[in-house]
Symmetry: C2
Subunit: 322 residues, 2 copies
């Protein structure tokens, strides 16, 4: 049906996105090593363009499009679109800006002003909709019908997955011999990408997902062997409220060792530890790998552990510990 | 009277402290470059050991001590001491821990709990005093008399200055051709060190100090040609409330082009910009160089500008913009 990205595809993505994304640094903290009893390597995607790993997948998808992918009938020559209230919205706007094409982003009216400004700041046109999934999809379809824009899904897209896979690829280049890599899981783009990078390069490396207890659809889906959509997610980790897709689920099911979950207090504590000890601003979703390492470290096989710090777009006016 | 550290002394300090401090990274931000109309390089001492450049000076001073520097008559064989409620307290405690000797730190009773915990966490003994200068000095002298501890001043000490100078030395190694370097100025240890590094290696590089309007003793001292002590400092930049010392002043007077000042709103705005755009936790004092670059950029000669981001020990429970 489709071909899962292999190492050649991931390396091609790496070369394609290289001019537009940062090769992010890896940091360590002796204090956090001591707390966890592990040797931890933090892959800092909070320092990535647009403040999140999402830049990788969006840039790879947008630059993978050939002339033929853009229909001739639209009102605008070349155009991409998506619906998102989060980091993918800004990432797609940034990717389109890099390629010099237009982007239409459907955002819920009640999205935080800072998110709207970020998207607008990259020159994308915002279409506001009600915040229901139905309203967002209808608004998106209207844009596609009118402009011929190409829809780039936030995670259920092999080009996006291949782009997200480059974060773990870099991490393995930067830190040889990692025994375990942990990534947060929402829709599964980052986790599935991490898994295919690891299995291609270092099949002995354990890959784990980290998920909030209040949005544990990946945990339940792996146990059930099929996608269990997330209903009523309840977590401050706003990037992880979505459900797995039919492209991300099978990769995760096959290649990810386990999904570990953390409670809200554990997420907030881990987030604060990184701010306080590492002086890094990370968003709640990005704290999940550390949160599960602290609370469920006994279930993590490796002693030398890489964590994907997925993003840094925290709301500085509303800190969860205040 | 005394010999100002030259490049040999600074390079000796660099070699001496190397095993105990981080060679901190330099970050850039296209957004902040655009805001300032300059090419800015942030030397991230917020990512330094103990969360501030102070680790450099304290480690250099403590490891510069020879056996003969410790008097034989004290109750403890080898011991150092200081009075500080800020980053130097933790830095001296850390340095003593690295050398395996004892540290006594005089702190005001009303110091923030997180600062007390940091000092205690490095194994130093804390002696509490009233927060007046007189009470602190008396408590310090009692410790020296009882234990024979060697006093390491937070900034008015040539070994400390030589240690702080290594931050700019690294920055010039990391970014060739800087036209201007800006460092915050409180007691002047960092700024005088920055100046002697620059004048030794790149005498054409302009060195500027950045100071809060509410604690502008360095600005006034340079204008007067003599030390004007700071009375009643009023600024959130808690690291910059002190006055210049008789060792730091002459170096700054001779080698620093100007002291630029920023108001409290400008400091807070610059601090927030770094958190929001660069995803770095910095303390108010560390925001001064960017604050003056934003508000007084026309007085900065260079287009390629290095900023010393002095520390990241911000109070996460009391953010100044909330």
């Amino acid at each position: 049906m489709y071909s899962v990205p292999g190492i050649k595809t991931i390396k091609a993505a790496q070369a394609r996105i290289k001019p537009y994304v940062h090769y992010t640094p890896v940091f360590t903290s002796s204090t956090l090593d001591r707390i966890c009893g592990k040797q931890i390597f933090f892959k800092c995607e909070n320092l990535q363009k647009v403040g999140a790993f999402k830049a990788r997948g969006a840039v790879n998808a947008v630059f993978s499009l050939s002339e033929n992918d853009f229909p001739a009938g639209g009102t605008e020559e070349k155009c991409v679109t998506t619906h998102s209230s989060g980091n993918h919205a800004a990432a797609l706007a940034y990717a389109a800006l890099c390629r010099g094409i237009k982007a239409h982003v459907v955002m819920p009216e009640n999205a935080p002003p800072v998110k709207k400004e970020a998207v607008a700041g990259y020159g994308a046109r915002i279409t506001y909709s009600e915040s229901t999934q139905k309203a967002r999809e209808e608004a998106l379809q209207a844009i596609v019908a009118r402009t011929g824009a190409v829809f780039i899904h936030p995670y259920n897209d092999l080009r996006v997955i291949a782009g997200q896979a480059t974060a773990a690829l870099e991490l393995m280049e930067q830190v040889p011999g990692l025994e375990t890599i942990i990534a947060p899981v929402g829709g599964g783009g980052l986790l599935s990408g991490t898994a295919i990078s690891a299995v291609s390069l270092q099949p002995e490396t354990e890959v784990l997902g980290a998920e909030p207890e209040g949005a544990d659809d990946a945990f339940r889906s792996l146990r059930a062997g099929k996608i269990i959509p997330q209903a009523n997610p309840r977590t401050i980790a706003d990037g992880l409220r979505t459900s797995l897709g039919d492209l991300t689920f099978p990769i995760i099911y096959k290649h990810v060792g386990a999904i570990l979950t953390a409670g809200e207090e554990e997420i907030i504590e881990a987030m604060r530890l990184v701010w306080e000890r590492m002086k890094l601003v990370i968003e709640p979703s990005a704290a999940l790998p550390l949160a599960v390492l602290i609370s469920k470290g006994s279930q993590v096989r490796g002693e030398k552990v890489g964590l994907i710090v997925s993003g840094g777009n925290a709301d500085l006016d509303h800190l969860p510990w205040l």
